[in-house]
Symmetry: C2
Subunit: 428 residues, 2 copies
């Protein structure tokens, strides 16, 4: 058996403590599988005196993660502090400069600085791995980078924020308003310190940006993502969508359109009977589509101590086994600058609006849609106690630009009250 | 860029032709991702003159796969002929002896001779990879061996024979008898030349044996699998199960019971709303359960040209990238001899039987079940036109031995007509 692989772990929150537990509990199993002992040499966290449910007494303590990253007695720097810049980035850079392999769960850092870090790691000949950054315990980075390596990828989709899916599920199942479901999730500790990272879709968009880079061989391009959170979704939307055979999910989609790469993170309708439609609660799902393999669906816990730590261990075991790949699957210097698709792929849309209950109101709306090339597939008008009639329209496939033009002209009809809701219906 | 990786491909059926197509079509992509050109040097098949929809004119032709495997101008021998022994095994052995890496889709060969071949490959320092042998395009070998490497695995389950799932789905959806659905599958070309490989569960059991070896670090032990095909399942069973909220699947389960390793491939009931319950048609699904990651579900096409060839390419790309692992994830010489669990884990069971329509008949059955420690959770007696009453029982968790004892005593009651059907209800 070769020399042990020595870890330095920065960040001892839920995930960090989880990694320590696995390294301690599964020491024999990991040795048997990788052919090396995996040991923890030193750790670092903001507070030293805190009960984390693990015995850290055998490990050296470093106040400064940068100092930890540079220690000569570690082989792998495990960054689990989070934050796209600050100590996480500084220590990762220090580790790479010192010739250490790096394992991180930091999606924000990868999504915003992945290109720069990957180039640095590859210039130094070290690994920079991040299975835990996307979809928790699901080995999706590995599936995409290695398992589907012979495929031209056409589309990657995912429900990758468990908190949003929990909120949407509770609105549908328990009839809670968005605000009530949000408060419930908050009470359960599901929300990030800045909840907009969750419900605004930013956290999930970080993950999508990483997947898109691997799938399409392009530089990670977080800013290209068309981002829309779940805050505008109402119980009405969820019920109406359900009536028509759909569920609403915060869905990330990265798709090659022929005119460029389209990436969006937004609430979408998916068929209730599809795997994505069936996904409830905090579970994550990623769908990968390749020209040879067809559609692969991966499902599992997207967060939590055990699942996230499991993904960190996957990277550590790869390194212990001597498996080293470029960060985004191909050398960072060969990644193309992505062409952003100006117009997304055409799609069916779900429209919900309130019309004043006057003769001819519906006709006016239908005319404007038709004038802009938006063709109606299905339409329902619901019973209504007040003056306004809720109307639901499912369009045939239409370009988003045409739809936006039509929506822009609706106010001038004088029959539409409030802002219409338009949600994409994703074919899955 | 380093030297090209040169393939010799034996077997040019659906999968072999599919591999040739991908290597030709995705040549650039594969080079970009692996850092090496992947080229085909020579091929072999039973018949030379046959239109396979691919241009083979640039490749050397070998009549004998053993000669192909030994060619000095190939680096990787790709075995796609099938058959557990014969030319497949002889040529694989020849390739290993000649120091070639081997990629195969041959589940029977791995399930029956995997230990011997793995030891030979590892002694020679070459790779023996087989992602395509299990669940087609789903990268499940990689997910289990690498993605979940830090987990103690507690259970692996899978629907891994698309033909059986197609037959069961059609019986349920279209109300076909087993014989009708079988004939339909046969007409569509879904059945192996020996249909018992499919409907007898043997093909799926080969796959389960391989997964169990990786998951539990044990020598592959095909003979340990408790094997039961789908031939005894009736439309009645499917409808009754549906009434109770279950679907019937040919389910493979490998499970650590504390007293040993339990492996079975048999028709089981799973909850209709679970991912396994929702799986229809020819699609495959594998469920992996680890002590840290919880439950991971993988879904995709389990057969067909593109998906299977995609999996072969995954192995080829790994080798091109220099990623080499022991065949079953840890050195073959360190794999334990599995302890076969004599008694399986307790489970709820679905029982269907026909009772003569006499007073007290049901009481007699209930008494015998109770006397043997089999407790009844739910019971339904159905309307019946004839003399016999169909009775359906769902038991509480019970040991299979107790259930078998009870079933053995039922004939002496004189009220049970024909043989009762007993199907395990798997908690998923």
């Amino acid at each position: 058996m070769t020399e042990p692989l020595r870890l330095g772990i920065a960040g001892l929150g839920t995930v960090g403590a989880g990694v320590v537990k696995i390294v301690q509990r599964q020491s024999q199993l990991i040795s048997a599988r990788t052919g090396r002992r995996v040991e923890i040499t030193a750790v670092s966290a903001r507070t030293r005196d805190k009960d984390r449910g693990v015995n850290l007494s055998k490990y050296a303590w470093e106040e400064d993660p940068v100092a930890l990253a540079r220690r000569p007695d570690i082989d792998v720097y495990v960054e689990l502090m989070g934050g796209d810049a600050g100590p996480a980035k500084a220590s990762t850079e220090a580790a790479i400069a010192a010739g250490k392999d790096v394992v991180t769960a930091n999606k924000a850092m990868l999504a915003l600085h992945g290109q720069e870090l990957a180039e640095a790691a590859e210039a130094k000949g070290v690994a920079l791995r991040y299975e835990a950054a996307v979809a928790g315990g699901i080995p999706v980075i590995k599936a995409l980078t290695e398992g589907l390596a012979g495929n031209g990828i056409s589309r990657v989709m995912g429900v990758m924020n468990g908190t949003c899916n929990y909120i949407l599920t509770r609105m549908g199942d328990a009839g809670l308003t968005y605000e009530e479901a949000f408060a419930e999730a908050d009470g359960l500790g599901y929300l990030e310190a800045d909840p907009n990272l969750d419900v605004g879709g930013i956290d999930a968009a970080h993950k999508l940006a990483i997947l898109a880079a691997i799938a399409f061989g392009t530089k990670v391009d977080f800013d290209a993502i068309q981002l829309e959170g779940i805050g505008s979704i109402t119980i009405e939307d969820i019920r109406r969508a359900d009536d028509m055979g759909y569920r609403i999910k915060l869905l990330g989609v990265a798709q090659s359109t022929g005119r460029g790469l389209e990436t969006r993170m937004s609430p979408c309708l998916v068929p209730s009977a599809s795997p994505l439609g069936q996904l409830t609660g905090g579970t994550n799902m990623v769908v990968l589509e390749g020209d040879s393999v067809g559609q692969i669906v991966l499902r599992g816990a997207g967060a939590g101590e055990g699942p996230t730590a499991s993904a960190v261990l996957s990277d550590i075991c790869d390194i212990a086994r001597g498996l080293r790949l470029p960060t985004f699957g191909q050398p960072a210097t060969t990644l193309a600058s992505p062409t952003r698709a100006n117009a997304g792929a055409p799609s069916a849309y779900y429209l919900r609006m309130e019309l004043t209950d006057k003769p001819g109101a519906l006709a006016k709306v239908a005319t404007i849609l038709g004038d802009n090339g938006v063709s109606i597939d299905r339409m329902r008008q619901y019973d209504h106690p007040g003056d306004n009639a809720p109307v639901l329209i499912v369009t045939h496939k239409t370009a988003r630009a045409d739809l936006d033009a039509a929506l822009g002209q609706l106010p001038r009809t004088g029959v539409v009250t409030g802002a219409p809701v338009a949600l994409r219906i994703e074919e899955v």
